[in-house]
């Protein structure tokens, strides 16, 4: 982990190259996190991955969380590792619920990082599947664990537990 001053140094350097991309930092439970502008998340990830002397080039996990009732409501977390220095850093992009009604599909959007980290492919699909967060530019953004014809975003906090009718017919037609 970078320590708290180390995290501020990284923030300062990113601020120099991509002004305004990092909104805040958090250093909690010995874990360093950069809270970034969701529109600029790729800039920050690319900087962390390619900047000489940083090289956080291994994406170990990508996941999301729903902080309802807080606003902005969703967050996508990127857990990066610098394997030379053996340090972890978390990049966190907070997302508003959805664009105003009547525009697009009514789901929150963020840029896909599959180009930078091919490992994100399945994990972004999982986040889409469970939270309904759309990753712009993902090559194949479909449901991965839930049935293809499933309606709803089950890991959202306002999605109830239980009462689910079980069907086994969803994938009959797909690969015929």
């Amino acid at each position: 982990m970078p320590d708290a001053p180390g995290l501020e140094l990284i923030r300062g350097e990113i601020e120099r190259d991509c002004p305004g991309a990092v909104l805040a930092t958090s250093f909690d439970r010995a874990q360093a996190a950069l809270i970034v502008d969701p529109a600029r998340v790729l800039d920050v990830l690319r900087w962390l991955k390619d900047q000489p002397g940083q090289r956080y080039d291994f994406l170990s996990s990508l996941h999301a969380a729903d902080y309802l009732p807080a606003q902005p409501r969703f967050a996508v977390h990127y857990e990066l590792i610098n394997r030379d220095r053996v340090e972890r850093i978390r990049v966190k992009a907070m997302l508003e619920d959805a664009p105003p009604a009547g525009q697009g599909h009514g789901l929150p959007e963020i840029d896909s990082c599959v180009e930078l980290f091919p490992t994100a492919d399945a994990q972004e699909r999982e986040v889409f599947d469970f939270f309904g967060i759309v990753f712009r530019g993902h090559p194949n953004l479909t449901r991965i664990l839930m049935p293809d014809d499933y309606v709803g975003w089950p890991q959202r906090r306002d999605f109830p537990v239980g009462g689910e009718p079980v069907t086994f017919t969803y994938n009959e037609a797909r690969y015929d």
Binding site: R29, S60, Y67, A120, Q123, Y175
Partner: protein
Amino acid sequence: MTEATVDREREIMTVNVGPHHPATHGVLRLVVDLEGEIVRELRPVIGYVHTGIEKSCEDKSYWKVIPFVERMDYVSYFFQMEAFCGAVERLIDLEIPPRARYLRTLFLELNRIHSHLVWLGTTALDLGAISMLWYCFRERDKILDLFEMATGQRMHTRYFQVGGVIEDIPLGFEAKCRAFAEEMPIRVSQYQDLLDRNEVFLSRTKGTGIVSRERLLELGVTGPLLRAAGDPWDLRKAFDYLAYPEVEFKIPVGTVGDNYDRYRVRVAEMVESARIVVQCLDALPEGPFIADDRKYVLPPRSELSTSMESLIHHFKLVTEGFRVDPSEVYYSIESPRGELGCFVVADGSAKPARVHFRDPSFVNLQAFREMAVDSYVADMIASLGMLDPILGGVDR
């Protein structure tokens, strides 16, 4: 379009493998485009055993989540428990006593041997070496006996608790465990005698399923698959957790990263794990096996009939559970399949607001297409076995 390509197109046949086929090691479905016997395209279809465990965890108090997460990757249940309990301990800033650290390390390494034995038995079975299954499951049964002796259960033991382990190891466990750990390297060399000079096994594994180290890193692959490609990346060495900094062990690596290297790396890891088990038994510190913080840890049962305080603590913990201040933690450990991460969000209540597992099988499965495309369909089965996905962990 030339005539030749038309003919070629016509020869492509799409075959559905699974989801219920013994060689898929679980409920995995593969949609395979074959040209003759050559795999040209491959789409894994997953989700058949998705049971919404992560969602169910949000409805349970912290200590009731433990048996749920155990059932994700049902072959390495101790690792799931450690990932979750470790994450919660970091959230509440609770240090576990030295004896608990050693006991956890001991059981994790026994579980690693157990997991690799299941892998070796079933994968060798796929490759036609049926006798391996019986030998591997003989040793696996001894490990399950040890688990039963210490925890009362053979699988899904619920042995790790937030703060330590649920109870101390019983009398006689140490001798039995030591006997097993000293026998294990001999057994491993017997497996190697059966396989290492077996012409069929060698020709099926050598040079098949190669993916370069750089590509594996891009795909986020960790664990024995990455180490077989020559990258000594092991979270046990990289990050300090439990008793791993205090025990001595080596990280086996491969050279070319084919299926044979994957086999060699895992077999060598079993020997290293047996060494760690012996060292843990040697260095096992005396003292409590669970932290003494009554806000988070159940009081000893003997106190309940004499101490009102203990009874209140017990009642509060069992009915409501403990509350955790709003925060979030990502804690990852080296499971038999790679980096097993657990991400927990606390919102101040007695139930986690989010529990997410970064399952190594789920991520590693992305490399399967590149391991299998343009190889024989028989090698695809071998590569799948060497990938060692556990579908309970993939689907959660």
